[in-house]
Symmetry: C2
Subunit: 301 residues, 2 copies
Amino acid sequence: VTQTIVSSATREVVIGFDRPFVMIGERINPTGRKLLAEEMRNGDFSRVEADAVAQVEAGAHMLDVNAGIPLADEPALLAKAIQLVQAVTDVPLSIDSSIVEALEAGLAVYQGKPLVNSVTGEDEVMERVLPIVARHGAAVVAISNDETGISEDIDVRFAVAKRIVERAADHGIPAADVVVDPLVMPVGALGDAGLKAFRLIRRLREELGVNTTCGASNISFGLPNRHVVTGTFLAMAIGAGMTSAIMSPLHPEVKSAVLAADVLAGVDRDCMAWLRANRDPNAPAGERGGREGRRRRRAVE
Amino acid sequence: VTQTIVSSATREVVIGFDRPFVMIGERINPTGRKLLAEEMRNGDFSRVEADAVAQVEAGAHMLDVNAGIPLADEPALLAKAIQLVQAVTDVPLSIDSSIVEALEAGLAVYQGKPLVNSVTGEDEVMERVLPIVARHGAAVVAISNDETGISEDIDVRFAVAKRIVERAADHGIPAADVVVDPLVMPVGALGDAGLKAFRLIRRLREELGVNTTCGASNISFGLPNRHVVTGTFLAMAIGAGMTSAIMSPLHPEVKSAVLAADVLAGVDRDCMAWLRANRDPNAPAGERGGREGRRRRRAVE
């Protein structure tokens, strides 16, 4: 059974088949967040720290950290953000950049074994990123596009993912340390985006035996009531075998769909996480959430 | 592609692969509803009529009608309920009883082609129910248990379903008119209830080529925040290929999960149903829901 083990200085997280879904907080990303971008550019990381703490409190098992700000010194900003986030939380991080120097700067300061986000199937990108990932003993997100772009054909996307996994092996990176992103498109624009993602996720799991992740919120771009669409997508993707996603645990519709899907996929043993998350804070101690209540009742009978 | 076509006097509904999921309203059922049971027993069907209208307004495509009240004249009550429901709504009905005489009484008064709920894999039940279903040209829900009860083994449940489909064919009922209920257990008690349901639904669709349904709310029995569990279950079941369920469209978490799952399964073309259900009633006419707004904007450009 495939397990991708990532870590901070003090905590290990396992992304794996038949395990609870790993929620990777998406929030530390200046793309589309003007104020955050401006603050980071000026060396103010207070919002980065607050977002890190809030997401972990909301249930994030890992955090994605991105410092992609146009015309800024991205390697320096990303390294700084990673150090500060590691100082205020103990969850493992996903180091997120399309600039190889920024990935290197992030890896240089990182404590533990991170997820490097990402490598594509483009030859030049693979030849630059994979040696760095191997040298640091990191895990890596593999995005299933190549020089020709993102194929509409899931057989092509599957083949690209397979090629990245094979190339990673050539560099000494085991398949268990490659987490494939099937690339999720907005379903409002491409009506078969959900179907294709589910089919590809299932094949990646069954035929390639790899863990999977994606940027989940992209699926609902442009639609009303979008967090319900994102949450429902995640539940169906979990049903198809997806094992992690970059997402927001701060939206209750998204988080509760993931936790319910874990119950239904049989990976939340005795519904413990569900009961914990849905405890009624106003109920008397013995009646909370069901399990404790039931235990007590049984003891009384 | 399998299609189960049911009808009222004036409206046809198709349960089928690659079609929007069919929501069968669960509410007209006195089981566990003391007040409703008491009223029905006394010949007061006002709540039945109100529940019928409310569920159809909330989006139910069909309604399940059950009159199972201990020590009452169930055949007479069920016939009466069906006549009244058909007078106030035009959706096709599921005639729900475990008593053959009640199914017969319901069929005798029904206008159109109903779903008969249900037949099991017990020989005696099949030999009594299937001839009646065939004579009325109805469709039937097949529940995958037999004389030995409900098997924990989904191979056994699949085999029971297959036997019912074959026996139905002997009576001249095509497989397209048999909608199989895989039997959904409470996941709070049986941790693999979700997984088993999804696996069985997939096999019933891929290997037996039949439509499927279930009593969805059973999955969340005993759990806190249960409507989210039920909605998430339905979304994952739709991902596995389920085509209808007896459920409550009156719970927003349940209904919106189904509508979002239809979007993600690619059966809500252009997201029309999703946009209609999520229109902002306060928005000016041209800006509602996105689609009309976008059309208008395009016309102006």
